[in-house]
């Protein structure tokens, strides 16, 4: 490659693409695309909007499970806290966030000006990344209430009645910290054994890599707009 690259050379390369002398066969791809015109394309925003449907379903299931647990046990303070406060609230938050993110994603007009559209997309992706990280990390501290609620649904016995609220909250926090510690250990082991992909995935989940990526993308767009 010469160091004297010319803009005219670049224009010639693009000109070849205009006349179809290079690049993929558009007519064949277009014929295939016409057969499924409403299929969501593989862009991140479309996947994000679709993913929210699953989150709405999961949130509804969690809410129903929470309601089924506490509605018949209003006198059991432990279950009321575990399933009523945590799970009912968790399910409602999951549904509300999913509906909001889906609406925001669907309102992005891909045919709009590039800068404005990219800003909207980056904002939606950052909100979704933050919500996903908070809800995901939250689950580290929800296994004991989830287990107790499930145990009650299966056996009718309130595990929280065996100890005071302080004991169960303490256990809950301890289990959450333990889960995070185990994840960090697995991350370190994966890194040492050369499994960089697994190590980076766990690291990203623990430290909110998606949130940082989305924030960096948003910052890049703001810099361009300035």
């Amino acid at each position: 490659m010469t160091m004297d690259t010319n803009l005219a050379d670049l224009r010639r390369v693009l000109g070849d693409l205009e006349t179809g002398q290079a690049g993929p066969d558009i007519s064949a791809i277009l014929a295939a695309a016409k057969l499924r015109p409403h299929r969501s394309a593989g862009i991140a925003l479309a996947r994000l909007a679709q993913g929210q449907l699953w989150q709405i379903c999961a949130g509804a299931a969690i809410m129903l499970a929470g309601t089924a647990t506490w509605s018949s046990q209003l006198g059991a303070m432990g279950l009321l806290f575990a399933s009523g406060v945590l799970f009912h609230l968790l399910g409602a938050v999951m549904i509300a966030c999913a509906v909001m993110i889906r609406m925001l994603a669907q309102r992005v007009d891909l045919g709009g000006p590039v800068l404005e559209t990219q800003l909207r997309m980056a904002r939606v992706e950052r909100i979704a990344a933050f919500e996903g990280w908070v809800l995901g990390m939250g689950w580290c501290f929800l296994w004991i209430p989830a287990g107790a609620a499930l145990f009650y649904l299966l056996s009718g016995f309130d595990l929280f009645s065996l100890g005071g609220s302080g004991l169960w909250i303490g256990c809950n926090v301890a289990v959450g910290v333990l889960i995070i510690a185990v994840l960090r250990w697995v991350r370190d082991m994966a890194a040492e054994s050369g499994n960089v992909g697994l190590a980076q995935t766990i690291d990203g989940a623990l430290t909110g890599q998606r949130v940082r990526d989305a924030s960096a993308a948003l910052a890049e767009i703001h810099t361009f707009a300035a």
Partner: protein
């Protein structure tokens, strides 16, 4: 070439007629794909995603406006979104580039690859939004048209073009003729 699809009723374009209108501007898709993807496989994937989005969004196209402007906007938005996704995935999984496998192939298009490498080399150091500006500039769009597609003022587009040229000059030794 008619740059609008004004013969189509707004909001209810038939898919065949709309697909034909898109096909008349297929060069836009090839150029965007060549600007944002470095492998044949990625380019085909991107073009497919853009086409699906173009067909799905045809109801929002205003036939009184230039089809090429709308196509460029949508294609660039999809391409930039894909580039950001690929960057995130590449941190976990780094694929082998198709072109590397093709180098010694019997039917390898060395000239075509060199030309694409020229474009890759020019675009590689630019962020996705500046790539869009450079692509539109190289495609002969005016500063006002670039501003309309990207969503910035014409003077801002001119400033950015000058900066990009300067960046390319120092990064890859780009020489700028009088005509530019």
């Amino acid at each position: 070439m008619n740059d609008t699809a004004s013969n189509l009723p707004p909001g209810s374009q038939g898919i065949d007629a709309f697909a034909e209108a898109i096909g008349n501007h297929a060069g836009i898709l090839r150029k965007v794909a060549a600007t944002y993807c470095s492998t044949e496989h990625d380019r085909a994937d991107l073009i497919q995603d853009i086409l699906v989005q173009l067909l799905a969004a045809r109801g929002s196209y205003d036939p009184q406006r230039p089809l090429s402007t709308w196509m460029y906007r949508l294609a660039l938005n999809v391409a930039i979104s894909q580039v950001r996704s690929r960057y995130r995935q590449a941190r976990v999984l780094v694929p082998i580039e198709d072109d590397h496998l093709e180098v010694a192939g019997p039917g390898a298009d060395h000239e075509g690859r060199q030309e694409r490498a020229l474009l890759d080399r020019a675009m590689h150091g630019l962020d996705p939004l500046n790539r869009a500006i450079m692509l539109l500039y190289l495609d002969g769009y005016s500063q006002a048209q670039i501003g309309e597609i990207v969503g910035i003022s014409a003077s801002n587009a001119g400033t950015k073009i000058a900066r990009i040229k300067q960046q390319l000059r120092s990064a890859i030794g780009l020489s700028v003729n009088q005509e530019f």
